[in-house]
Symmetry: D2
Subunit: 469 residues, 4 copies
């Protein structure tokens, strides 16, 4: 499904490196491979051991760094890509944040969302702190700054005890790189090696992109400190309740990434296969919605024996400056990003595999598109359960009211989107297909958007990502 269409957006991606003479360049390529996790803004901060230097801006990595990264000299770097909010945000909210003081600089890059940021911010402001951004991320900087401990490591640990929610944090000073993952491990984060250098990234595809080798995933509740003396792992949280975001498998991560040891393409293909078993249908062709549903569609086709075809084409050249067609032109049939392949679907019974339904508007549009291109039947198959609950951990899934599955039955949704049939994958089927081996309430995965069971506290004033900025 198209992220830009569906309003189902990842918050961010982070990348870091320590001990490489081309730190900024490597980070550039690493961020570039994480671009799907955020297109609103990008930034890099480097250290040369004596000072932090940063550059950031709104737009794609290639746009922000159109003039290169030659001014970012140093052997340590952290970088960030930020997702596209409806209209808020702006330059100030682009990360990494870079805070300077007499005691030295502090750079921060964050993937996730803190659920108690509002309360903490209220307290900090009452104590005289001034916030420069509307980002929850800045709270951590203030907590570190106000911590009475002497060593940065202890200040950071102290600050981490006060925040709740989902976070993969990269924290860099002139002389150290710290990496922290929340006690639930809600967001993915892996470390690797590139020669002698250490690398860290939201997804393993970034390691492949820069020629690095995956070492291991960062542990929930772990604080990793890398400096001149090498890498040291500590824990800031003793209790762990592992619950990585299931949507990383279903939708967000790149197919070539491995999330906690499982290849994303393979997981998706398995979701599709299981879906074919759970919800078979007589049809002529199977098609996926590019890009994220392609793997599931291939799996569905393979398991069902119905041929897989390119029934929908995505236009690759839709950029920031694309002129949206007027309502009148859209009604005349002007397409934007997605086109049906008439030659493939005309006169055919089509199985359209998608990874999820958020508001239902896009599914409705695609079903209509396929029918207009001549499909005689359109059967929609979703490779995950219905999303009935908002996400507070960094995925922009809209509010409760906007989620079609929070107030409609599957049959009602089918009717709204105009499909001949509609089926979602079961929760058990999804767990089986992904194939992780965790026990317990969460089975190692956060499935809150499907089940409503959140692995952390959620508060009255917990802010949804899209309500920020």
């Amino acid at each position: 499904m198209l992220a830009e269409i569906k309003g189902l957006n990842e918050e961010c991606g982070v990348f870091g490196i320590w001990g490489h003479k081309d730190a900024a360049q490597i980070t550039y390529y690493g961020l570039h491979s994480l671009q799907h996790r955020g297109q609103e803004g990008a930034g890099i901060v480097v250290t040369d051991g004596e000072k932090l230097t940063g550059f950031k801006g709104e737009g794609l990595v290639t746009e922000v760094f159109a003039n290169g990264v030659d001014n970012l000299k140093g052997t340590g770097a952290i970088g960030h890509v930020r997702y596209a909010t409806a209209g808020g945000g702006g330059y100030e909210n682009v990360q990494p944040f870079l805070f300077r003081s007499e005691q030295g600089g502090l750079a921060l890059a964050h993937n996730g969302n803190l659920v108690n940021a509002s309360g903490l911010k209220h307290q900090l402001e009452n104590q005289g702190s001034i916030f420069q951004t509307t980002s929850d991320t800045e709270v951590l900087a203030h907590l570190i700054k106000r911590s009475g401990y002497l060593e940065l490591k202890d200040k950071v640990k102290n600050a981490l005890t006060m925040i709740k929610g989902a976070y993969a944090f990269l924290i860099m000073t002139e002389t150290e790189l710290m990496i922290a993952l929340d006690p639930n491990g809600l967001r993915p984060l892996s470390i690797g090696r590139l020669g002698d250098a250490y690398v860290v990234a939201s997804e393993t595809c970034a390691f492949d992109a820069v020629g690095a080798q995956l070492e291991r995933d960062v542990e929930p509740g772990e604080l990793i400190i890398i400096n001149g003396e090498g890498l040291k792992s500590e824990r800031f949280s003793k209790t762990i309740n592992r619950a990585i975001c299931t949507m990383e498998y279903v939708y967000f991560s790149r197919p070539d990434s491995n999330v906690e040891g499982i290849n994303v393409h393979t997981a998706r293909k398995n979701l599709g296969k299981r879906l074919a078993i759970e919800a078979p249908v007589e049809a002529d062709v199977v098609t996926g919605v590019p890009d994220s549903s392609i793997s599931a569609a291939i799996g569905y086709a393979e398991a069902s024996g119905i041929p897989y075809e390119l029934g929908l084409i995505k236009n690759r050249y839709v950029g920031r400056t694309f002129i949206q067609p007027s309502q009148s032109l859209r009604e005349q049939g002007v397409k934007m990003k997605l086109s049906p392949v008439r030659g493939v679907v005309e006169g055919k019974r089509v199985v359209m595999v998608d990874d999820s339904i958020v508001r239902g508007t896009t599914s409705k549009r695609i079903v209509k598109m396929l029918r207009e291109a001549g499909a005689t039947e359109v059967h929609v198959r979703i490779s995950s359960p219905p999303i009935a609950n908002p996400c507070y951990y960094g995925i922009d899934t809209s509010t409760h009211e906007e989620l079609i599955a929070s107030s409609h039955t599957v049959e009602e949704i089918r009717s709204i989107i105009g499909a001949d049939s509609l089926a979602f994958l079961s929760t058990e089927g999804m767990l089986d297909a992904i194939g992780r081996k965790y026990e317990g309430e969460f089975r190692g995965q956060c499935m809150a958007c499907f089940t409503g069971k959140y692995p952390t506290d959620i508060y009255e004033d917990t802010i949804l990502p899209h309500e920020k900025g």
Copy 2:
């Protein structure tokens, strides 16, 4: 295969419309859907019945028209997208060309390449004409201008008798739109209807993009004149030797286009199926090189029973301002546009399906990439015959010397690219798979790049597209 990597580039795409109040907007969306045919430049000329107004620039359609098309008022329009040459070109060569004179304006958009442009230009310059561009297209304007006939239609016909080669021409004055296709029909060109308006485009996907209906393909040797009195079809050439470019099926056109009635995705899938029959191999997974080889790979998988997987991922965010990695970083493993999916290919025998091999350098790089990601065997299967001859009709296939198949056997190529096995599709297999029903020497298709048999004369001074500008 990646056009930008392979150096196998289409020359252009054209789009036109007559009789629509939003002519410029429609053309914008039409060109946008033809963007894959050329990314170097784009332009639109409109007529409001009294004067021609144009805007063009270097870059993508969305970049050139970043400020919209509101200044282009009129009910008739022609547009053009231009392919990326190595470094030549420049603003002047971006089309449509717009010539003004006392007698009125003339706008020209051309897809193809004239094989006798050099000789004609020599003659015209000796008679005192001044050329503003290095484009062969401008020759037609001078020939029209110098024609003694009174009516534009006759001037155009007269000029068309003097040019040879491949051309789909859109010619627009204040009051008329003319459409001409060369007597071999080397380049695709179709006309359609959008309500009362007429539309014309290089590919039918442009009709789908704007909500128009295909009427028919333009005939080789046909001159269509559209004006206030409607559409009139005439012929400027009595003899026809139909020979549409085969590579439009194999590589260039979008999968959702129908070329002379045949869906491109379906044709490619059939090429893959036939390839599986002609050149079977024992393997674990089939993968295609995105984007153009995906359909053939699906076909190969379907016919062979080997599962189709996403073994290679293309980075979608590589734009003009992407910083190329240094040689040293590339050697360290920094990837640019294409990444292998380790989780898919590791420990597997891989069939890598591609549509063609030009110089062999890209195939070599991909084979190496797959091996480094853990593939135990890499079997390369090409869904067309070896390209051993340059194209003079508007495809930038490099010179004779650069074409690896012009001087190497299949076994030699296999050894150079480092594959465990390599096979090309046979010419007969290709013809069967595409499934056109033409007789005669060319079977309705130009296969010169495979066979060396050119449907038109070629001269000493015929210029290859990439040698221009």
Copy 3:
């Protein structure tokens, strides 16, 4: 007076150099010093002896060449700055023009206006020539191209015999630089030396800017050819009727330029002195309208004994992107480019010296401004005679109807602009003050805008500069 306000615009400035290793850089600085002659566009063409390379664009020299001139390698160069038309023009009309053909390239830069361009263009188009621009300059290229002579020098001479009007032409091929001035010498053009290199420029201030020494002014009717064998002077016209544009002294040229041996600032100061004698007035302060009237105002003050003060200030930071105040804000008193100095004019009788009155609207606005700032009397003194006739030689003075002096007496103009008194300098006074020593009907100067006596033929279809494009 403010050129941008008054609509009294110079057409262009030209600069050339031959035999210097930094030809493009020198031309950049030369053009920069001629920027006052045209702000719409700028361009440079260089030759390295084998090929011509050019770059041009819309905007100021510093904007067009914001990325430097390093790509323009060669030892010969010509450059051009173009004036700002109301809205026409565009990239195509920016000079130098660069024409390429089998026989080699030809670059053209032109300051002036041809009075028989329309007729010549009509002829050439009927013979099959295609014009790319709406510029009269292109006519010369076509005439050169069509000339039957073998040597370029003879082609150029042949072409020059066919054109009439005002022109300072720089013509450059791969191996030669040619310089031509019309037989009346209507536009200024000087040659100089920079070490061993030859330089040529519209104004001598360009020589000072690049450290070159003035050699002499180009002669009317002279064709200078500079190539590997040195400089050769020839004549293409035997009759000469010297008539340099008087407005170069009064208004256009920079005060630091010498026009035909006379310093412009000094000439203007003398105009002001003479004006004080011809049109004295009792007053407290003398002020000039920046920038061009400052010298005359100083002269008026010196001769009259009334103190010279800064009564009007020009805002230096008005650029292309300045937001014009709305009518409502303007009525509330929002100023744009010019502000009165209340502290200077309040309670004072002010002599406001300006160089000319075109439409009268600006004078009216300034008089009002001064009164609102507290001036008790405003006496307007103009350092040239009334402009009652349009200019066909490259100055954009508006049409007959728009020139206030073509249909109003001095007293009527005074009343319209709201001054307490108004006086213009007499023609004799102007000639004396400038101090040239020529005899004959024109006294060596074109004063057509004052007298209506044009030194060349003017035709029915002679186009005013501002009507082009």
Copy 4:
């Protein structure tokens, strides 16, 4: 003298308005007229009574607001222009600063420099505050934020008691505009009326630019509060030791501004007259260094009877993208911003009047330039005393070591700059010429840069403006 050349730069200019429906537009034009006070950055914050909206950027006002100010809706606004540092600064340091918190927003614009900012910042950081900028201005925001008082007015007063140095502050919330001037009144600040609206600006020229009337200057130690209930004046400091920056008269302010009731052009002309009396010389022409020394030169000429001439011309088109000539080209004589007028100075004894000498390098260059243009003698006359001490109040005068007058006698300086004679104005002469009527040690003026007597404490860690950022 050219600010950009001399390195004698004003820190900033501020403008505010309250109660006008076009608040942002008016502020745009107001800032535009203050552009000479800072070209590095510009910004505007508006309030519509409910929320603050801001926009800022690096560059000129016209560049930053190239797309207009239509998005800045509200009836109150404050704006700021920032001076050009050598390379520091950046977007973050551009003002107005906009701080948001639960309690509402706070916008700050500051002209001046705080002398105890380092100490305060140290304290605040130790208490946990995080600074976002390297600007001393931010200290005030933190002090306000941390103040225990309930009402903003009291918080502001409380904060003002803690800062020392030079400051003209505009402070705006959603519902109030506050204006504060330091107890010495070191920087100029005036209030006026535009219809019913209140306006405030660093210079009165901004009132003229927007059609407003000056009401009065802001008093040292005064806090003005403007809100729905009108304007209220309070005092936060009882002691006043008036000491406005003398350089505002000599160099910084626009000639059309009145500073504490005295017109700047008139003051400068009087400085020049007095200089002619104090330091007469036999010469042929008087010339000033544009733009700031023109008035003094006119005064010198008037008092001495030597004619005033344009002996030096400034190129108006030197923008951000101007390519600096290489050393080699500069040695060949390529000029940048300033050109001598050969026709005026050749063979003449020249009096060159300038307003000040900082490092001496520019004076040296100009003297050389004049000699090369043929001046037989060059007599330098400076319309202020030698600058021998750095400024800590917001003027970037370089450090002690760089000030040529801090370690050289007048005769030594004369020799270094290569003049035939050199004279500075006496301190008494300067005071007389400006003509203010204050008594006491400072005579109402800060002359610290001349005398070394600073009206406030200066500390070990007081930071010079140019050392920031």
